[in-house]
Amino acid sequence: MKAFFAKLMRIDRRWIFLAMGLVVGGALLSSIVFPTLEISPDVRTAYDLIDRLPAGSAVLYAWDYDPGSQPELYPLSGAMLRHAMRKDLKVVMMGHWPNGIPLIERQIDEVIKRDFPQKRYGVDYANLGYKSGQNVVVITMAKSIKDAFPTDYYQTPVDSLPLLREVRSLRDCKAIVSFSAGDPGLTMWIQFAWQRFHIPVTGGCTAVSAPEFAAYLQSGQLKGLMGGMRGAAEYEVLVGRQGLASIGMTAQSLAHALIVLFIVIGNVAYFAAGRRKEGQP
């Protein structure tokens, strides 16, 4: 029996990969959907921040991620963009990750052009694109958006866009929303936009980086947070249109359960095969 558990401990990792592939693939292909999520207080706070803004208010949405984090953050940016459009907010879009900017164009197509065709570019929303400089860009935008972005993503002078004639600086935005996969991202917005200019900051991040924002949430420097795909799924529930995140939650649920199962099996085998001394594999 001991030999069996010892063998189990040395199992070829390709079996683990296969199990994970089957579980995630099966969940994505099946139509199983787990019951509706309970909305966490952090997601509710972020939702309320956007929801309570009067129509016509300007908000800045920052796509601070690239396609690597797309499965977690793309559904969230879609849900939040939809929410802003429904509320008739004016959305200024930009990003600090050069590889993420085409995702803004894609989201404009999928959310605004498809479901809100009456919204006009330059009047209801604008895409500034990318500018290198990270925190310096934020500080410069707080003085004048035109100084940081003389033209928008499509090379149109920002002065010729009615929206950016109204929103001249970051201080004219009632909230900043960052979809953040790391640095530059939410932390930078908190440190510069909130701390220096007191513009409310909220947003979403990948699940793996969610724990690092707990301190900012408690201090009130961050007004709510959507952590990973779960946060996005909760926001989708609040917006009333379940999409990619809600579908993905089934796969994520089963993947988590499988990892826990592996941990249990690994530990059972570890104790059954006889514990080894510290430092031994």
Binding site: F17, V24, P67, Q70, R106, D147, A214, V260, I263
Partner: protein, 223 residues
């Protein structure tokens, strides 16, 4: 002289930016703002440095046929290809030949997402092999991680409600414990890390301003 002048520039610039933060007089803040504008331009130039470095490292790898040199060819071909397409055809969707956008959406985005998704496989394998209750600390980590992993997905809440007695008498216990772990031990640890990192950054900035830390002036990284 070669080092003294940059050290003086570093000291004066650092000092001026600190003064600008605390003295909100337009005379000072406007010029500080101007200097920050220069930083945007300097940062943009680092992109060119990065490309140069990438070409040099991989060019050398190809030239000397180091292990994996064929991948370097692919990397450089993609770099030149995407850059060329972007420069000559444009990077936007509504450009006349939106080849860059097409490649981005149909090749680059799925590839990057696929790379990131590999994490799930490696985490599963690592959890199986390394997550062992070897001692008290490891057991604590193991239990916390398991609670968070189960508590953060709807399946966990659903399974909890199905548990006899516990599910019916304490339906929110799992959610509460998960939130407590995030809000108390996690937040305390994160706060400590952040304060430590901030103090480290302040000390490093002072060292650079005072010329104690000079590694940025040399190519070797030493004093």
């Amino acid at each position: 002289m070669k080092k003294t002048v940059p050290l003086i520039i570093t000291f004066l610039t650092g000092l001026y930016m600190i003064v600008a933060y605390f003295v909100p007089h337009p005379l000072i803040t406007d010029s500080a703002q101007q200097m920050q504008g220069w930083e945007i331009i300097i940062v943009a130039f680092t992109l060119a440095l990065g490309i140069g470095n990438l070409v040099m490292v991989h060019g050398e790898k190809i030239q000397h046929r180091h292990e994996g040199w064929a991948y370097s060819i692919v990397l450089l071909a993609c770099l030149v290809g995407m850059m060329g397409i972007g420069l000559f055809c444009g990077i936007r969707q509504q450009d006349r030949f939106p080849a860059y956008y097409w490649l981005y959406i149909n090749v680059m985005a799925p590839l990057e997402a696929a790379m990131f998704s590999l994490l799930a496989f490696f985490i599963a394998s690592a959890a199986y092999r390394a997550f062992r209750a070897r001692n008290k600390e490891a057991s604590l980590l193991l239990i916390s991680a398991t609670i968070i992993m189960i508590g953060r997905v709807p399946l966990g809440s659903w399974l909890w409600l199905k548990l006899p007695w516990l599910g019916s008498h304490f339906p929110h216990l799992l959610d509460s414990v998960t939130q407590w772990i995030m809000d108390v031990p996690n937040a305390a640890g994160q706060r400590g890390i952040k304060i430590g990192a901030a103090l480290g950054a302040v000390s490093m900035a002072l060292r650079m301003m005072l010329g104690i830390e000079r590694s940025y002036l040399t190519t070797g990284g030493g004093q």
